[in-house]
Amino acid sequence: MGGDLTDEELMQLARGDPSAFDALFLRHWRAVFNYISRMVGGRDAAEDMTQECFLRVWRARHAYEPIGRFRTWLFTIARRLALNELTKRQAQHTLLTGDIENELRPMGRRDPVSQPDAMANQGLLSPAVADGVDAADPQEILMARELARAMETAIDGLPEELREIVILREMEDMSYEQIAGIVGCPLGTVKSRLNAARRRLRTAALEWLGEKQT
């Protein structure tokens, strides 16, 4: 079930037909899990929260009104669960150490490579590699994978208010408007946070390049 139906149509059908909910779940469960686990870390906790997220959706099916996009609503629930978990962990951490600074794991402000065009101008990675096209040569594919790994580490190191924006934009391909709806902030804030996040990721990419060249 669900092939041509929109999320919103499936959600309405789910009121009387659990298989419509199955289809909705199968469309989104991996994305929700990825988002939550990137936000909070830890497979078991992320799976528990993913389960809780979808059960909340299921139990709210009779009250659901398709005013906005289902996906925005779904990720709003997922985000609330993730933030509650982070708040709980921070409280526990504060109780234990009195120091929450490390919990947020902000990236350093080092920017040892000052030429922003180093990678782009040197043609280190071709557009084919960056787009995941098969035509790239094995060396380039390897470097693209290494860069993606460096980016993964850098994303994990972003403060949560920047990390969530990057995940929603780059991994879930959401528009600024959708992200603003989920995060509950103005469009301008999405824009400035994404810009700030990319500046940090850019710095990490240049650091990675610096290490490759030494």
Binding site: P18, F21, D22, F25, L26, W29, R30, A31, F33, N34, S37, R38, R43, D44, A46, E47, T50, Q51, F54, L55, W58, R59, A60, H62, S114, P116, D117, A118, M119, A120, N121, L125, A130, D131, G132, A144, R145, L147, A148, R149, A150, M151, E152, I155, V166, R169, E170, M171, S175, Y176, K191, L194, N195, R198, L201, R202, A205, L206
Partner: protein, 167 residues
């Protein structure tokens, strides 16, 4: 960035781009996402056409964006799917509670990661009317006549559940 002369001026002594470049770079992230209005986008493109430093910066941001999109997704275990859909099926079979009553559903899921897990869920949505707060203290096995445990296969695990009506 609506009216940017180009090419831009020299960098400042602290290494940051000067004047027009700084304002363009603040818009580059939104520009590569196609999130600027047409006037702003045109102004950025006009500046990039004349400024190699900002052009390189835009290319770098694009590369970073594409690299982030190559980061593999974290994948849940397949058991999670069975667990959620099994619980949904179990709840879907529950009949509405008598008016003013609450259903308490207790799930016992076996053999998940070698451990047993007990979930207790209030399922007030199945009641016909707004519900009073659940009487936590009375929701014990000893204060109610337990109905039989229902059994349901969910993928490669067996799930048991029971419904307890709380007065």
């Amino acid at each position: 960035v609506s009216d940017l002369p180009s090419p831009c001026g020299p960098s400042r002594s602290d290494g940051q781009p000067a004047g027009n470049c700084a304002s363009v770079r603040a818009e580059l992230s939104a520009s590569i996402d196609g999130e600027l209005d047409p006037t702003q986008q045109e102004a950025v493109e006009r500046h990039l056409a004349a400024c190699s430093a900002c052009r390189a910066e835009a290319a770098l941001l694009r590369l970073v964006s594409q690299a982030v999109r190559q980061v593999p997704r974290l994948e849940p275990r397949e058991e999670l799917r069975d667990q959620v859909l099994g619980q949904v099926r179990a709840e879907a079979t529950i009949q509405p509670a008598a008016e003013g009553h609450v259903h308490r559903v207790e799930f016992l899921i076996t053999e998940r990661a070698g451990e047993r897990f007990m979930y207790r869920q209030e399922v007030g949505a199945f009641s016909a009317r707004p519900l009073p707060p659940p009487p936590e203290a009375t929701a014990t096995a000893t204060s109610h006549t337990l109905v039989q445990w229902h059994q349901q296969r969910a993928g490669n695990q067996t799930m048991f559940y029971q419904v307890v009506e709380i007065g």
